[in-house]
Symmetry: C2
């Protein structure tokens, strides 16, 4: 396994970036600057950003590969890739408001610069734009692609809804938590991996195989994300050490530990249930309790299992070998990454 | 002119209501209750609402008429009507958050009951649902209908963005204010009046004629809304007297007065620019200054002019006479209504 960003991800950004800029430029001025800022295209004053901080472009890379899996050149996957990236960023902008997060990708979040109202609108605009992109040019199955995207959006919303509801509950089960991750993360990954193929007219069995791959890869991604949220190096992740624990987030390793039936799990529950803010020592103690209750081991092993399931789907789905290899490379990167 | 709700509006609610309930029931539970509450289907505890308070259903009525203008039975307009109503309510839910409004239709707003996060998600869900409805069943021009809806959504967002930006400015011109109303209100009315026809396969000239009618009717609606926001009877509108003035909203009659070049306009500007909250006396004084600066007269005359332009479009667009008469009846109601 490698932790180097696969070449296909960087080239996806090169291919999809101009389309993203072009679509964003059509938004009305008050909304455009907020969306462009969030996407890393401009700074808070609207000047072109020196270096793009617009995220890893994993989903666009998957979408371009998905068009190639259907035998088309990657260029044909650009509308689908841009649409998925807009949906992803719509959800980030709105989630940052809901979660009160003030920093993302080492930058202040959109709402913390432009205000909650402007950030709500920018998210809305990206969501509406995403659907429009898919319908804007003649493609064999643009309506099917748009419906797949809608379905992913509804699952994304359901997942975020559960996430918010979990904050107020102390009895969240691991099954509920996995379902939430399936909705909040895996559904859009599944969409990214299949929508490029669907848009250009792929048959249903290819679309289904790619979606199943994406769903497993998405869960592997979320498990890795949750592990990094506790044990990731702050200088790489851009988040303080133990950030998710400090926020008492019910992430997968935490819920695995809480529901482990172990003494460490019970101690973790008591620690996280305390009223007062967690000290640095509390956070370190919580991290070692998650580990002692085998939450870390479970999440690492589950991430590996999801990666293996993803690779199995790939092997069983008919597509050009080099496309399969690139899909596998990104899935492996997702699980091995450090940020 | 009449101020009685035309029969077509009540029957539109009967026809579209079940479709709306059915689509809302597909949302995930945490999001569903918020959307259903906002739509007046359930109370804050999720129990079926005694009497629906879900608004006037003007847009669904227009959408059903629009399918009939294309020679189809009203039932064929139901998906388009539901889609437009969902977009309208998506924007209301999000606008209430942005504007900090705690009451709508005599009820607490969704965010004030369920929290900002849940209300953002419910709005998002309705927006995504709206697009999905149009694509969910085979219709001759469902992709064109979906793109019209997207375009209306982008103008809605642009209009709300301008509205937020205007709050921080003291130099808003009447032209800017009219453009904002065109985006925020008239664009979705134009969409409502044409999307039913488009969805069932109407030719472009019918769609364009209906959209132009809707655009004028939408401006007449907004001008009337702004007049009611100052002089509407509180027991009918459900808003305190002079509500828009107290909130220092840059509504059309206010901006007409502020930009009138009269002494009353300048006095109004000074009154609204004051730092402290406006007293009851200040609000009454502001209302009489808007009137003295001819802001009320201008808005009433502009509303009549927009109604006349709407009726002219109707007369010039080919459709069954009884459909034209119903369109005209709703447009006249919009301009004569008391709430």
């Amino acid at each position: 396994m490698t932790a180097t960003l696969p070449a296909g991800v960087a080239s996806a950004r090169d291919l999809v970036g101009p389309a993203i800029s072009s679509w964003v430029s059509r938004l009305s001025p008050d909304v455009r600057i907020v969306a462009a800022y969030h996407l890393g295209l401009v700074d808070a004053d609207g000047r072109p950003a020196a270096a793009s901080s617009g995220g890893k472009a994993l989903r666009p890379a998957f979408a371009l590969l998905s068009a190639r899996a259907a035998g088309m050149p990657p260029e044909r996957g650009v509308p689908a890739a841009a649409a998925v990236e807009f949906v992803h960023n719509f959800s980030l902008i709105h989630d940052d408001i809901m979660d009160g997060d003030t920093e993302r990708r080492h930058q202040p979040t959109a709402w913390s610069i432009f205000g909650v109202g402007a950030a709500i609108l920018a998210g809305d605009a990206l969501l509406a734009l995403a659907q429009d992109i898919l319908l804007s040019e003649p493609a064999p199955q643009s309506a099917w692609a748009a419906r797949c995207l809608s379905a992913a959006v509804q699952r994304l919303i359901a997942g975020q809804g559960s996430d918010l509801a979990f904050e107020r509950r102390s009895d969240v089960t691991l099954a509920e938590c996995l379902e939430m991750a399936g909705d909040k993360t895996a559904a859009l990954m599944a969409c990214a991996c299949s929508i490029g193929a669907i848009h250009v007219g792929a048959p249903a069995d290819l679309a289904m195989g790619l979606a199943e791959f994406g769903s497993h890869a998405g869960l592997a991604f979320q498990l890795t994300d949750d592990l990094l949220g506790i044990w990731g190096a702050p200088e790489v992740t851009g988040k303080p050490v133990g950030a998710d624990l400090r926020a008492r987030k019910k992430s997968l390793p935490v819920v695995a530990a809480l529901t482990s039936g172990t003494g460490a799990g019970r101690e973790l529950g008591a620690l996280l249930a305390a009223e007062q803010p967690l000290s640095e020592d509390d956070v370190l103690r919580a991290a070692s309790l998650v580990e002692a209750a085998a939450g870390r081991e479970w999440a690492e092993s589950e991430a590996s299992a999801q990666l293996a399931a993803a690779l199995k789907c790939l092997a069983e789905t008919d597509m050009p070998d080099e496309v399969r290899a690139e899909f596998a490379g990104i899935a492996e990167f997702i699980t091995a990454r450090q940020s």
